[in-house]
Symmetry: C2
Subunit: 249 residues, 2 copies
């Protein structure tokens, strides 16, 4: 048995999310099926994060155990061949010790959320960004975001379906920057609650539109109440961009 770490890129549009679902296609299902076709083995994929339907990944980190011997590059190539035509690509593959775990060994996760802020509808970025027609003040959004950085009870910014035992998390970074008519929000933490990034982004968008005052974000956080949430941003603007491990270079 060999444990392989995979780096995975996917377009989340056609999937019901990363995690295997009984009622529709998932990224996990696509990779497990590709591995089964290749090896005949029933493999289980573990990943650094779970993503919702429509959420994308540039570099999700995962692992699986395979009995049949493989050179990592050949495994990557063969999995990619079996994954076609699904929009899932294995962009990296490495052998890891048996106690390396894509989820439990992970010490940091980063997301990016992309907004296009303009009147005209999206064309090339349809399904790849959140389209907001009303002008957004990115500086106000960034200022408001700083109230969320640090160790807090994020109950307000957590899905009702979140399974985490503890709503207290440490948010290391929440930066909002404008690049032309694009607004990018970069978030980093050891781990996130379910819907946390989308909930934070949705609320910051209200600040950007002037619907909420900057100080209201801190008040919503202090309320520790999902009902105090401004807005949950749609999934199509969210990208899982990186997972970090102690053995990373």
């Amino acid at each position: 048995m060999t444990r392989f770490a995979l780096t995975v890129e996917f377009d989340g549009t056609p999937f019901f999310g990363l995690q295997r679902q009984p009622h529709g296609p998932s990224v996990q299902g696509a990779i497990e099926n590709a591995a089964h076709k290749l090896t005949g083995e029933d493999v289980t994929l573990f990943s650094a994060g779970r993503t919702d339907s429509g959420v994308h990944a540039l570099a999700m980190r995962c692992h699986l155990d395979i009995e049949k011997p493989f050179e990592p590059f050949r495994l990557m190539e063969a999995l990619n061949a079996h994954l076609r035509p699904d929009p899932v690509a294995i962009t990296g593959c490495a052998v890891k010790p048996d106690d390396w775990h894509a989820r439990f060994s992970c010490i940091g996760r980063s997301y990016e959320y992309r907004i296009r802020n303009r009147r005209a509808p999206l064309t090339l970025e349809k399904g790849r960004a959140w389209h907001i027609a009303r002008p957004l003040d990115a500086d106000a959004m960034h200022e408001a975001a700083q109230a969320l950085v640090g160790r807090h009870d994020f109950t307000t910014f957590r899905s009702a379906h979140c399974q985490a035992k503890d709503p207290v998390k440490t948010l290391d970074r929440l930066d909002v920057s404008r690049e032309g008519d694009a607004i990018v929000i970069r978030a980093a933490a050891r781990s996130f609650l379910h819907h946390q990034v989308r909930s934070m982004v949705g609320t910051l968008a209200l600040v950007g539109q002037g619907t909420w005052a900057i100080g209201q974000v801190a008040e919503a956080l202090a309320a520790k109440d999902r009902a105090a949430l401004g807005l949950n941003a749609p999934p199509e603007g969210l990208y899982f961009v990186a997972a970090h491990y102690p053995d990373d270079n």
Copy 2:
């Protein structure tokens, strides 16, 4: 009658090209139909460039004449409403003098060609870039490209269907740069021949793979013969990025 200049962004994937076609959907047809639904008038769209099936535009410049009075912002909004769900967006609209012509007044055109150079297939950029699995030497490509800059007879890099009277063009810029596993080729000229950018990029890709020596690009140019062409790059990596006019700010 008022002449309106439009800035147009589109995803070329579902179209048979920008120009109206008898046998399938076109960007021109989509915009003319939207204008007809809005005004009841039979309008004709003129554009800075013609693009092939699958080629994209970030900021194509076009014009049309409309009898009914419109405030430019309202015209843009109404055209966008009528264009749904086609992946075509009017991102700018301005009134111009009657002698301003999107094609004939244009004094400069810029294209970008995007390559992803990696083993793994594309997911989020499928249909948005040319996927080349073999490693490319971007520095060699850039060096070879400089042989094409300047005033030359570009017969080698011209489609058999090109309708231009004169194959002599002045290429102002052809820069190749690597950004991670992406390679971007930026081309600028007063005007281009049909398939010129794709033909130049395809040939440079042969240099990047080491199939052609750097000096062979200059030889192919000097041959003034379509048969000397290395390769025509596929349309999905090509973006029309800008058109320039004497009255631009």
